[in-house]
Chain length 83, copies 7
């Protein structure tokens, strides 16, 4: 196995994103922005200061939130996703 | 692993929410508010004093309810979600 | 783990509902009312005296019925759900 | 565990229905009536003398049929379901 | 366990149908007729001389075909299904 | 178990199709034609010289492609499927 | 097992694509182009310099992104897919 950019396995990106803002896209086109606090192998997440987004503008503020992994399409560190 | 805000794994948020009011969003846009009594690793939940919500207003009162984990999108402590 | 109201795990609610009437909501908006006789860890159920409901009125009488767990959204003891 | 009406686990109802006529409802509103010959823990079934039903009238005759468990919503002994 | 008609488990019907013509109904209303050559516990099938059917008439000829089990609703020996 | 035509298990057909052209039908009516290079027990495939088809004519050329098994409906050797 | 073109198992293609640009097609017709950094057996991916595409033109820039495997239809090295 070759390692590229210090990321050897997919979960390495989630681990290095703890404490940082991420963009999470769900099936059915829901989008959440929040600070990643925790994740597990099912890609269940806990985010803090969560904002539910719709078409790029904030729809709802959720604070601390547990997101079930099986509805997630992608997770992207906000520093690169929201530029 | 870095721990942030005392939450190391996603289920830690559910554990610290026991006895508190939570907002639960299901696939298909159903929403429930109730007191979290129990959960398991499948994210099956038991809530008490459950209200089924639609567009922010109460649709049905369900009392004690078992919610199957696989229909859940997110769970958020009501103190932060409903402000 | 804190225990609230004698329910430590989600299946405890199902166990204490055996022999009692429950309301079962399925994906696709089917609703059943019947007496809970048995359940397993997949949330497969056997109900007796089952009535299939539509918009709050009885659509069909099914008697003894095996319900597959994976189509279930929630299960609520009828004493609290139907008040 | 309390046992009610001799049915302790959900599969007990299927076992006691072997050799009898059952009504099987599938996702997508297909309905089958036939004699239950066999089942397994995935709720795969073999029925004999199968009739595919639509709105209460027979649409197709299938004879011996293997039904995959994961499309099943409920199984009900015909003696109670079809009265 | 009672055995009825020599079929004790659902896969027994598939085993006794090897080398015979079967009707296979898939989710989304596709239908195939072909000779069953092989199956496994996931209900993956290999059929020979496969015809894809639509509304009872042949739409396409596929010859030897591997069918993934998870899209299957039912499998019925053609001798009883197509009479 | 009876063996028919040298195919005892469904994966035997995939194994004997390595290096040959196959037709792959996906859920949602996508169709691919390409040379089968590899497969695994999840029916994940690698095809070479892949053409994405729509209504029998070529829509896109993809070259080497990894196809996830869980979206596949059927796989058929092109020699029999495309005649 | 015969090995063709040095690819014996499907994941061999992903392994040899590390550090290279790939085209990823998701269920629901989303398309991503990015550099493959990591993957696991669930086909979870990490891509860098990700562009979300729609009808062949760029819709959004996502930078580093974790893609959940269960929404993926196919993955194709961009050198062959985008020619």
């Amino acid at each position: 196995m070759v390692m590229v950019n210090g990321i050897e396995r997919p979960l390495d990106l989630l681990n290095s994103s703890k404490g940082k803002e991420v963009l999470v896209r769900l099936k059915g086109d829901k989008e959440f922005v929040g600070t990643l606090l925790a994740f597990d192998i099912h890609i269940n997440l806990v985010l803090d200061n969560v904002k539910e987004m719709e078409n790029g503008s904030q729809k709802k503020s959720l604070g601390l939130t547990f997101l079930r992994g099986d509805t997630i399409i992608y997770i992207s560190p906000a520093s690169t996703a929201l530029k």
